[in-house]
Symmetry: none
Subunit: 397 residues, 2 copies
DNA sequence: ATTCTTCCTGAATCTTTAA
DNA sequence: TTTAAAGATTCAGGAAGAA
């Protein structure tokens, strides 16, 4: 169900103790008009300009009070905000829900396109998680153990001796005692989820749109199938889409008719872009071996991950243009490596290119090295060559 | 300088506008006695129990007010806290420093062992960064580009056409136009730094000890060499150790005599488990730089510590004897390096020795390289030589 | 001073081209 | 036809410049 109105009016009419979870993504107190034009030409906007902070906080407090009423005893609220007013909002949550019902300060972190600012790049938003009572619904999600974890710690039972020291437990015959099966690491309060990319198909053209991925996590930890979710600032309807996909009931409220219309459209054909980054992990993009990275580091390069011909660029330009660096791969002949680097270097308008030779084999005199390509032999290769010269000298004696 | 007293007393005596940066890691309002036993048997503890939150906040406000007075106009404060009272503390900071001087909410994230609590695992702490004025000192740290980044947009200049669409820029003949040199990505406000491993050497046994890497970052972005740093709750002195290693002056205050004693000990012989970030200051405390280790790794060496003449041995013997490898140090002349390696190599009965030259300077023809010593030039040195040859060619034209 | 406009950036996708 | 690599595109949001 989607309702077009100020959420305060609607919240007042909702029956008490009926909602399982409320997610709200209200204006952040950015003191700007959030505006965006969708590809179909529709312009979505909402004003986040306030007389002063007090006015904003009063507006929020009225709504948060009504939300508490609407929630079931086992229900919880997730308030999405950023550092413009997060501390003030949490004070309100403390007042309305009680400090003892604070559950978590969830940090949503992401990397985003940058801007040139004096200071640190903003890379997170905050979601406050409060419950109506201490008897709240919660589903623990387990993640895999981190690769650095010692597997012994997972499989073996541990024991605390008299001094308070912890050690592994052994039975009478000296065999290790296996711990009861562990499910993994419970999810932390820091969530790394890619920011909804400007090019993602999931984008609707509505400003400040949140990724479905984020809402799925919130819904999964706090509700079960069939539960009822309320989003009083539903905007493009991301929470409703996530709720529908996870078989939860939902109520969305927004005072903008165009937003409500967008929600209806979206719910009929929800698009969730699968984040390749999330699926394969950032490491899948990192294709360099440690040795290659060491060489690039020594030469003071920026590493390039998505180019067959180029492994990195010198941090400094040379003759006003970049210098591409390539390290010969084990499966590449010298001639192939030259070719790949030369082509890529030309496309990128490099003044010079640097090829690091890693494989032995006489440099065929017919192989032409371009005049602006510098070929260096990797240190181990140089050492091998020099040592073999001594070999020959000794043989001759 | 380390002072044993309640910081309020000391802060009142500090001259106004004299401190460049204040880092404080006060009690978090955990309502517990923080207690830990160090390996040497000394028990460190401090009480974090308060009558009520108001009392705690009053205590903090008095001190934050004095800190502001002590700071220079260009100075900043970093207040470390966790979600027990972070919102209340930020309200105080807003009051004392002004909302307009809020700079960042830094999130320190880490993965830690699970506790079986209902809810999300706490995995972060917060550091509020405020400056005294808008004219604050700040050093931007640049990181490498995300592995998903497309290098074209880094290298190519872009242009905005009439419709406001952005596309790559081409010159009259249709060639791409290069953008000016880029520095990398400015550091974000979310810092992933491993929680101090309980067994790490760095651990002194002081409760709530923070990793040195965290303090290094804070110090590097907000101060320059010679600046004065104040830590009014210095505890085990991590901030002071970091300050010392980065050549900053420091004032530490703690009301516990055992903490002050511990600080003195640590400052005399700082131990650092994680030293990747430091190059300048840390060299005094460790034997091999990352670059040296990379070279030794590439040559497939076993690394030797604490030997002036030898940095490593090839894993393989040559002519039935070990081969010693030395990398020329920044403070060694070529002749000195040869001498050191030659002597050490003879003592260890090496068949050959390998010297990696890292510094420019013509190889004096009078310098005699022993017949069983192989001299190789480090890659960056080779590249520099080759590029300067091109320079000369161009100059001659 | 205040508001408006334009510029700049790079993460992560989408689109096109090459194999 | 399918897949992978290379290239193109968009947006949030400060900064700098203009009105």
């Amino acid at each position: 169900m989607i309702i077009c109105d100020d959420c305060l009016n609607v919240l007042k009419k909702i029956e008490s103790d009926t909602i399982d979870m409320v997610y709200l993504d209200p204006p952040f107190f950015s003191q700007k008009v959030q505006c965006m034009k969708a590809s179909n030409g529709v312009e979505y906007k909402f004003s986040d300009i306030w007389e002063n902070k007090g006015e904003y906080l009063k507006y929020m407090k009225f709504r948060i009070q009504e939300i508490k009423k609407a929630l079931k005893k086992t229900g919880s609220i997730f308030l999405h905000c950023d550092n413009s007013a997060s501390h003030n909002l949490r004070i309100i949550l403390d007042e309305v829900f009680g400090e003892e019902n604070f559950r978590s300060e969830i940090i949503w972190t992401y990397k985003r396109w940058s801007n040139a600012k004096k200071g640190l790049m903003p890379g997170h938003q905050t979601i406050f998680f409060y419950s109506k009572t201490s008897d709240f619904k919660f589903n623990t999600i387990y993640h895999e153990y981190s690769p650095t974890t010692n597997i012994d710690q997972i499989l073996q039972e541990r024991i605390r001796n008299g001094n308070g020291k912890v050690s592994y437990k052994y039975d009478e015959i000296g065999n290790i005692v296996l711990a009861k099966e562990k499910k993994g690491v419970p999810m932390s309060d820091v969530w790394e989820i890619p920011f909804l990319n400007p090019k993602a198909k999931e984008r609707t053209g509505y400003p400040t749109q949140k990724p479905i991925e984020l809402l799925e996590k919130i819904i999964e930890i706090s509700t079960n199938e069939g539960d009822c979710i309320l989003d009083p600032f539903c905007g493009s309807g991301t929470a409703l889409v996530a709720a529908k996909m996870l078989n939860r009931r939902y109520i969305g409220i927004d005072k903008s008719p165009s937003a409500v219309e967008l929600c209806h459209q979206r719910l009929e054909a929800p698009i969730k872009t699968e984040s390749r980054l999330l699926r394969v992990g950032a490491d899948a993009y990192r294709t360099k071996t440690d040795e290659e990275l060491a060489i690039l580091n020594m030469l003071e390069c920026d590493v390039v991950q998505r180019n067959k011909g180029i492994d990195g660029f010198l941090k400094k330009f040379y003759l006003g243009a970049p210098v591409a660096v390539k390290i010969q791969k084990p499966y590449e002949s010298f001639a192939e490596a030259i070719d790949l680097l030369n082509h890529a270097g030309k496309r990128k308008k490099c003044s010079f290119t640097v090829l690091i030779r890693t494989l032995e084999g006489l440099v065929d005199s017919e192989i032409l090295v371009p005049s602006n390509m510098i070929v260096l032999d990797e240190l181990k290769l140089q050492l091998g060559v020099k040592l073999s010269k001594y070999d020959k000298k000794i043989m001759q004696r």
